[in-house]
Amino acid sequence: MDQRIVDELARIVGNEFVSTREDVLLTYSASASTGYESVQPGAVVKPGSTQEVADILKVANKYKIPVTPRSGGSSLQGEAIPKPDGLVVELLRLKDITVFEELRSVRVGAGITFGKLDKLLNQYDLWVPIYPESALVCTLAGNVAVNGAGPGSTAYGCIAEMVLGLEVVLPDGTIIQTGTEGNPNAPGPFLRYAFGPDLTGLFIGSLGSLGIITSVSVKTFKRVHHFHYETYGFETKQQAERFLIELKQNEIHALFVSIYEGKILDFFMDMLGEEYGIPKHEWPALTVSVTLGRVREDQLKSDIKLAKQICKQLEGHVIGIGELPKGEWDDRMRTFARSSYAHGWHWRILYHHQPPSNWHRSIEEIWAIMDKYHLLGHTAGFQSGHGSYNYYPHLYFDPQDKEEEMKVREAHKELAQRLFKTGAVPFKLAPYWIEDVEEMKDYLNLIKTLKRVIDPNNIMNPGIFGDM
C-alpha cells in the first residue's frame, strides 16, 4: 500500500496500530474460513474509537481502497478475507459495554465477544440468550454482520431478533445510529423500529458491505436457571418434524432442539458421547434432543408434561436420556467447533435454514452430495426460531491434500444449488447461492442499487456478494 496512505492511517490511530509488515499481512490473509483462498491485504489498521473508524473510511474512500471489516476472525464462509492490497479494519479495540437494566438492553462495542458479555451479564443475572458456535471468539457485531444463530435460537431466533440498534460508519465516514438511540435524548436502546424504515435491518447480514458496525445494542433477558434435558424418539422424519412444530405451537420454551438421524447420532456419540457421559443406547431412527428452560419452575414443569404428551400423540416415545441435550447446552459456547475438531480435518460449511417440515430435504441432499463426491462430513442443526431450522453441513478435507480440498469446494457449490431448489435459504448472500438464479434478479437489483447509493466507490467488502 502506498506509504502516503499508510502515513495518513497512522496519523489517525497512531503508528502502533497500523501495520504493513509482511508477517502481519499474512495473518490477516485468512480467517477461520478454511477451504478459501488466502488473499494478502496491503495494510491492517486497528482503530480505538468510532471516530477513528470514520476517519479511516474517509481515507479509504478518498483513495478508493477496498476495506474488509474484521473482528473475531472466526467467520466460516469467507466473510472476512480481504482484497489484494486492500485495507483490513480490525475492530477488537472497541470494547465499551453499557448495561441498561431498566431498558432490558445492553450496548457493546464491536470488539466485545459473546463470552465476555455473558460473564458480565451474569453478574446482573441476565443474558443475551443466543450463543453462536464461536461464542468465545466471535463478537456480537461480527455475528450481527452475518446474522448468526446458535444454542438459544430455538426459543429466541437468530441474533437479528435481539438487535435494538446499531452504530454504523458509512463508507464516506458518516456515523449513523439506528433504533431509539438515534434520538440523542433517548435513555438508551429500547426499540428497534424507530424513525421509519428498519435501517437496522439493512445492516444485519450485510457482511460489512454497506458500512462498519461499530456498536450493537441488543436485548437482555433474565437468566434461566430452571432446565430440563430430554430426548424423544420417533420412527419417521415426518413425526420428528411435526414434533418441532408442535413444541412451538404450544409455546413450549425449548432453548435448543435438534433432530438427529441415527447415523449422525452415532457420529456425535463417537465424538463427544463419552465425555458427555451419554449412556449406550439403541437409538431410534430419529432422536430429538431438547433443552427446555424457564425462568419459573412451574412453567418448566408444565412444559415437560406437555412435551411428553405431544411426543406420545405423535406416536413417539420419551427416551429418558438427558445427557445428550445437557452436554450440548453446557458446552454451548464451543461445542460445534469441538465437534469438527473431533472428527475432521479442515472443512467447508454451508449454513442454511429450512422450515422444520422440510428438515428431511436438506438431509437427503447432503447425503447425496457426500455419496457423489465420496467425502467425509456430517451435518447437524437446530430449530432456529419461529418457524425455521438452521442446518450446518460440514464437508471435510485434509489441508495437505489440495485435490481433496478442490473436490470439497466443488461439492460445496453443488450442494448450495441443490439446497436452493429445495427451498432452503442462506444467512448470507454468497455467490454460490445466487449465481445464475433468474428468479431473484429483481431482488438482487434492489440490493445493487442500495449498495451503489451508500457505497458509490464500492470500497466496502467488494465482491462479498459475488459480481455485485
Partner: protein, 387 residues
C-alpha cells in the same frame, strides 16, 4: 535426542483450524478470562497470539515466507505459557508445536537466543559472562552445605544470582527441618531457556552435564525451588533427551509432606494475612501442581488464601517464560504488571509464588505500576515460621 519429525510437526500445525479461541476467550464456566497475555499487552495484531504464530510458522516452513529475523519475531514474542493449549479444542499442543518450530528454524539468526545459549554453555548461567556470583549466597548462610549428599538442593540460576535471599531461605529451611543436603560447587544451568528457544542440541549436551553433576553428588532426590528447573529436569530431560533422572521434587511438594506428616510445624505468619497465589506455568499447566502450594499456604496459621480471577489451569502468565523476558523485556514486564493488577483486585497483601523466575518478573511488574503488593516465594514466607 528424539529427532523432530518434520512431517509430524506439519501435520500437527495443520490441526489448527484458525478458530481463534487462543486469543482472548472469556469462558466463565471454565475459569478463563482471556488467554494470550502477549495479545493483551501489545497492539494485538494477529501475529501476537497463537493462531497467527502458527500461520507464520507454517508459511516459514513451507517457504512461503522468507526466513528472516523479522519474520520470526512473532515466534519468539511468546512466553509459551500454554494457556492456549489449555483451551484449544484441537488434538495437538500448539505451545509445544511452537517450541518445536523454534528448534526447526534455529538456523535463522536470533541474537538474544544465541547469546543466552552461549552464556549457559560457557558459564553455566544465562545472566552474565563469567561464573562468578552464582554460589555467593552460600557464603552468607552461616554454614557450609556439602557437595555430596542423598538430597541435593539444585538452586537454579535465578535464585542463585538474582534472588539469593530465596536460595538462602531454601537452604535454611532445609537445615531447620533437619534435612542433610548438598549444594553443587559449580551448578550448571538446567538449560530450560535453550529448550524453549530452539537450541535443542545444545540443550541436550547441557542436560547431560547437569545429570553428570547430579550423579557426582550422589543425590537420590533433587530438590528445586524453581518451577522452570522442575519442569526441565522432571519432564523435559526424560521426554526430550531420554535421560534417566533421580527423583525431582519441588520445595512446596516436599515441605507440604513434612507439614502433613507433622515433622514440621508452622508458626503464625500474622493475623488474617491475605495472600494470593500465582501459578507458575511450568508447575501448573505443565505438571498439574496446583493444590500443593495452596495447601502449604493454607497450612500457615493466620493466612487467608484468596484466588485471583484466573487461577490454576486458566491462570494468566507472569510473562517471564519462553525466553520472552530476554527477547522483549518491556513486554514481559507489562504482562507481569497485568498479573499484579489481577492480584491487587483480590485485596491480597502478598502474591505468593513458587518460582524465582516468576517472582523476579512479578517484582518488575509491580515496580512498573508502583504497586505496593509484596511478591514473595513460599519458601521466603515459611523460612522463619518453623517451630
Amino acid at each position: 535426542m528424539t529427532e523432530i519429525d518434520l512431517d509430524d510437526l506439519m501435520e500437527n500445525l495443520a490441526q489448527c483450524r484458525r478458530c481463534g479461541i487462543c486469543r482472548d476467550a472469556v469462558y466463565e464456566d471454565m475459569g478463563f478470562d482471556g488467554i494470550c497475555p502477549v495479545w493483551k499487552n501489545t497492539a494485538g495484531f494477529e501475529t501476537s497470539f497463537m493462531r497467527g504464530k502458527l500461520m507464520i510458522a507454517i508459511a516459514l516452513l513451507e517457504g512461503r515466507l522468507e526466513k528472516t529475523s523479522d519474520n520470526t519475531e512473532a515466534l519468539y514474542a511468546c512466553s509459551l505459557c500454554g494457556n492456549c493449549t489449555e483451551i484449544c479444542a484441537a488434538e495437538f499442543d500448539p505451545k509445544e508445536s511452537l517450541e518445536l518450530v523454534r528448534a526447526v528454524l534455529s538456523d535463522i539468526p536470533n541474537e538474544v537466543r544465541d547469546t543466552l545459549a552461549e552464556r549457559i554453555l560457557t558459564t553455566n548461567n544465562p545472566y552474565v559472562t563469567d561464573k562468578k556470583g552464582k554460589r555467593d549466597w552460600v557464603a552468607e548462610l552461616g554454614f557450609e552445605p556439602p557437595t555430596k549428599a542423598d538430597t541435593l538442593y539444585y538452586f537454579g540460576c535465578t535464585a542463585g544470582m538474582k534472588l539469593p535471599e530465596t536460595a538462602k531461605a531454601a537452604a535454611r529451611l532445609l537445615k531447620a527441618a533437619g534435612i542433610e543436603f548438598a549444594v553443587l560447587e559449580d551448578e550448571p544451568c538446567c538449560g530450560s531457556v535453550m529448550i524453549r528457544t530452539g537450541r535443542l542440541q545444545d540443550a541436550e549436551e547441557n542436560a547431560k552435564k547437569v545429570l553428570e553433576s547430579i550423579q557426582e553428588s550422589g543425590a537420590k532426590t533433587v530438590l528445586v525451588s524453581c518451577a522452570g528447573c522442575l519442569k526441565t529436569l522432571r519432564k523435559d530431560y526424560p521426554e526430550k533427551f531420554n535421560l534417566s533422572m533421580p527423583k525431582i521434587v519441588h520445595f512446596v511438594e516436599y515441605f507440604l509432606e513434612l507439614v502433613k506428616s507433622g515433622k514440621i510445624k508452622l508458626k503464625p505468619l500474622g493475623k488474617n494475612v491475605k495472600i494470593t497465589y500465582h501459578d507458575p506455568c511450568h508447575m501448573g499447566r505443565e505438571l498439574g501442581i496446583y493444590e500443593e502450594p495452596r495447601d502449604l499456604l493454607k497450612a500457615i496459621p493466620g493466612v487467608e488464601l484468596v484466588e485471583m480471577e484466573t487461577n490454576r489451569r486458566a491462570a494468566m502468565c507472569c510473562g517471564a517464560g519462553g525466553g520472552l523476558r530476554s527477547y522483549d523485556p518491556e513486554l514481559s514486564k507489562k504482562i507481569a504488571a497485568d498479573r499484579v493488577r489481577e492480584a491487587e483486585e483480590t485485596g491480597a497483601e502478598i502474591i505468593a509464588n513458587a518460582c524465582p523466575f516468576c517472582e523476579q518478573n512479578l517484582e518488575s511488574g509491580a515496580k512498573l505500576i508502583d504497586s505496593s503488593i509484596r511478591v514473595a516465594d513460599i519458601v521466603d514466607l515459611i523460612v522463619d515460621l518453623i517451630e
